[in-house]
């Protein structure tokens, strides 16, 4: 169906339409200013259309493999039946202090910095400082990443 087709590719259709309108506008300009050679705009239009198509084709061709390749990290399983124990070795290796670990634990429970501060009886700024150090030591930028990594290396349950 024509209507169906147009509906489905509405955006594309609109682009085409605008292109057509533009070409008409060109015609009008041409007549208005009495430009000599009429064929140029037609050529330009054809070239434009052709190379737009080419660009689309190129893009599709070149970005094809990008959608499928999605690599992720190695899976590390841990038996849940065993009681959790903090990996002190990793803690030492990364130089993470006791206090920082506490912050990390509360952080992993979804607490805000404010709440963590209230829990540990320290100020918001202190929590921020701890957090910043944690991020630095774990080499991450966000708390979510920190929690992620801390769990992976066995700092928190």
């Amino acid at each position: 169906m024509k209507t169906n087709f147009f509906y489905k590719y509405k955006t594309v259709g609109l682009y085409g339409l605008s292109l057509a309108i533009l070409l008409l506008l060109l015609r009008w300009l041409e007549l208005k200013f009495l430009i000599y050679e009429h064929s140029f705009e037609i050529y330009a239009g054809i070239i434009a259309l052709f190379f737009t198509g080419l660009g689309i084709w190129l893009s599709r061709k070149l970005t094809r493999p990008k959608t499928e390749t999605r690599i992720v990290e190695k899976t590390v399983y841990r038996d849940p039946s065993l009681p959790f124990e903090v990996n002190r070795k990793e803690m030492d290796a990364l130089g993470i202090s006791e206090r920082e670990l506490e912050v990390l634990q509360l952080m992993s429970q979804g607490m805000s910095n404010q709440e963590i501060g209230a829990n540990l009886f320290v100020s918001l700024n202190t929590v921020k400082t701890h957090a910043a150090r944690i991020f630095e030591k774990l080499d991450v930028q966000r708390r979510t990443q920190a929690v992620e990594k801390a769990k992976k290396i066995g700092l928190i349950a």
Copy 2:
């Protein structure tokens, strides 16, 4: 209303506008340098380049990845003998959509909204909307809590 119209067909309008500007620029060049003889090839080249770029842009803008085969392997604290499987029952019960689950997964990897958007080929605002819905459905306030809860009820690994 004019603003409304423009808003509605913003993309098309911008497209047309840029096209018009380009053509006007060409015209200007034409008049300025009076190079009627050997100018055609130059015009053709410019137009070809521009529209190739446009085509690529269009393609990138309009097409989205066909099959988003995303394999998310992460640290699992459950039974290591069993492979992770999304708890569809909970998903349905909470009314969490497929897309929202994707956002949730990327969120759990510590990605920022910006990064998630880049990964899913959508805008930051869209990610925010999804996130807001997720928080609402999971009844949480922060992303860390969302990840926490999603893991608990088996939405993500």
